[in-house]
Symmetry: C2
Subunit: 360 residues, 2 copies
């Protein structure tokens, strides 16, 4: 299927995703960076041996209020006969991905994927040498890319994310995620997941929770690796998605990815995605930006024990520090309303002993 620009026309409600990516492009030219000073974190001492009677399920979390809030909640909902007991089947927990389970600076990792795809596809598109925004991507001129605006970003997404079959796309993602390196750390992107959150996922599952991802990122960009990296199977990943179309090609059925957005799983789209895919309200939600606000609101406003948590990026040395004014992962309303909504706010710098697994 050839790329046809006219297919890239998208409906108004689809713009959110592209705007998100657009702001991310801006950040590639500067913004908060990772300083060499985070390297000493690698030399962190081994964690103290756990007490023999109860191994600590969250060893990378410092013994502070955030950790206590988590374990108190889990103890309450799992105590059979207790007033807040929740049957295992209803222990649904939803996690944002970008900025909550892995880093999202200096730009969403999926944007790096899209830019790398432009480079990989360039030999088949000689016209891109003179056509923005592709020219800008190929020449590393991110200002030109940003100047192409929303329309330019839409063209990049359409050219790199659609027109192929779901199986072709899965292979492309798998190849990229196992080889591409982050511009600052030079690590695989999947190395840049948060060790304390991996422990949290495992802890919840050990207590009968079913863990889901509910991310603004593309669902087909995540599913190929979430089982391996997070222990979350494809059927428990909710995300933004393109429309797909069933076709039989020479006797072989395929699903073709169309240049039309089917669902934007961000902001008010998150409770909608949860409803479509999970079909019941989670009892715990974890996010890091105002894109997660409605998910946290939806999850924590129902009756019974509920838990909401925001990861606040406060660690400019070991990761990044950003919140109210960031173009990526902006967090303002969440910070303002967390206290009155009894949401736990994780102070990354204070609460986490290590950030990434390779620092253990």
């Amino acid at each position: 299927m050839t790329y046809r620009p006219e297919q890239a026309r998208l409906r108004a409600h689809c713009l959110a995703v592209f705007l998100l990516l657009l702001t991310a492009v801006g950040n590639y030219g500067g913004g908060p960076g990772m300083h060499a000073s985070w390297l000493p974190a690698l030399a962190l001492p081994r964690l103290a041996a756990p007490t023999p009677q109860a191994p600590d399920p969250l060893p990378s979390w410092n013994a502070r209020a955030s950790k206590k809030a988590i374990t108190d909640f889990v103890n309450r909902v799992t105590r059979e006969g207790g007033p807040d007991f929740v049957p295992a089947a209803e222990r649904i927990a939803t996690f944002d991905n970008d900025g909550t389970l892995w880093s999202e600076q200096p730009g969403y990792f999926q944007l790096s994927f899209a830019l790398d795809r432009v480079k990989a596809l360039a030999p088949q598109h000689p016209e891109w040498k003179t056509m923005q925004p592709f020219k800008g991507v190929l020449e590393g001129d991110m200002k030109a890319v940003a100047a192409s605006g929303e329309r330019g970003l839409m063209e990049i997404i359409a050219a790199t994310h659609t027109g192929n079959t779901t199986e072709e796309f899965e292979k492309i993602v798998t190849d990229w995620i196992t080889t591409a390196r982050h511009p600052k750390t030079k690590r695989l992107y999947t190395d840049m997941v948060f060790q304390p959150m991996l422990e949290l996922l495992a802890y919840l599952r050990a207590n009968g929770f079913k863990t889901f991802i509910v991310s603004g990122g593309g669902v087909e960009f995540m599913r190929p690796w979430t089982q391996r990296v997070y222990g979350i199977p494809p059927e428990q990943v909710v995300g933004s998605r393109a429309k797909v179309k069933y076709e039989v090609r020479n006797g072989t059925p395929v699903l073709v990815r169309l240049a039309e957005v089917d669902h934007v799983d961000d902001k008010a789209g998150k409770p909608v995605g949860i409803h479509q895919m999970i079909g019941r309200r989670p009892i715990a939600a974890f996010g890091n930006s105002d894109g997660d606000f409605e998910m946290l609101e939806w999850v924590t406003s129902a009756k019974g024990p509920r838990f909401g948590l925001i990861v606040h990026h406060t660690d400019a040395e070991r990761e990044w520090a950003y919140d109210r004014t960031s173009h990526i992962g902006q967090l303002a309303r969440g910070l303002d309303e967390a206290p009155k909504r009894s949401w736990t706010v994780v102070d990354m710098k204070q609460d986490w002993k290590v950030i990434y697994p390779f620092q253990k």
Copy 2:
């Protein structure tokens, strides 16, 4: 939210569901019925005691080719070290609902729900006394309902299925499903599930399979009771769905069901729904009509061990007999192509010792 007819305008691709329902209305006036002669089935002898060494996991299945095909497949994919071994995480099985897990005659059970809802809502709509298709429903004049055509059915669906919140709708479905009775058997609809298929679901799960429903019926019509009746949780139910919108009403967030179809989970929509919600290809699929053809095709055309099964309604005495010319659950292409595609065709009359659990 008041019902506004102008909201009922639906896109072209949404018509399939309503056409399905329309054909069902026709059948309420006649078509294949259930004869009193099925009653002796209640007196079926108790099944023979299983051999002590290996209790039969499918006691309601006669020892014929269909049963052997099922157990052979399960043995192959679960035999560790064998050539066809499939890791448990990939043992995904998808089941159609109407006509596959429960009966669908003389009309889809969800249509009975819609008609009952019209009656329940009538006091709030005095104008319905003179307005078709509502007048026809209230007077039991199904010919008039059918004469209102597709537009009339769309109005019934919009009036009975949308405009409320997801929680309100869940309560309505739950109340109905636990009280409404089938017009012929006078049983609860959830009593009219197929005992052999309940055994099959349990057998697959006992062998590490994850079982999903993939139905043309409304997902919110099924989720309130599938755990109790089939052992399938809400997050493993794929179906047709209305668009929903997130709103905060006086500080309380709700999801409002809009009169706009989001996904029609029928025919080529089934592989699409599977991809959206499950994100990987199942290894086994179970259906009963040509609405399941593409799901069976998608599932069984991939590499590795695959299993496709069609329930053929051949039992006019204990259930219903219909296939090629039926307006409901039409089955023609599936019957024609099953042999060359190696799909198992269950002859309900020959293969099943009992149909419903209350006949055990």
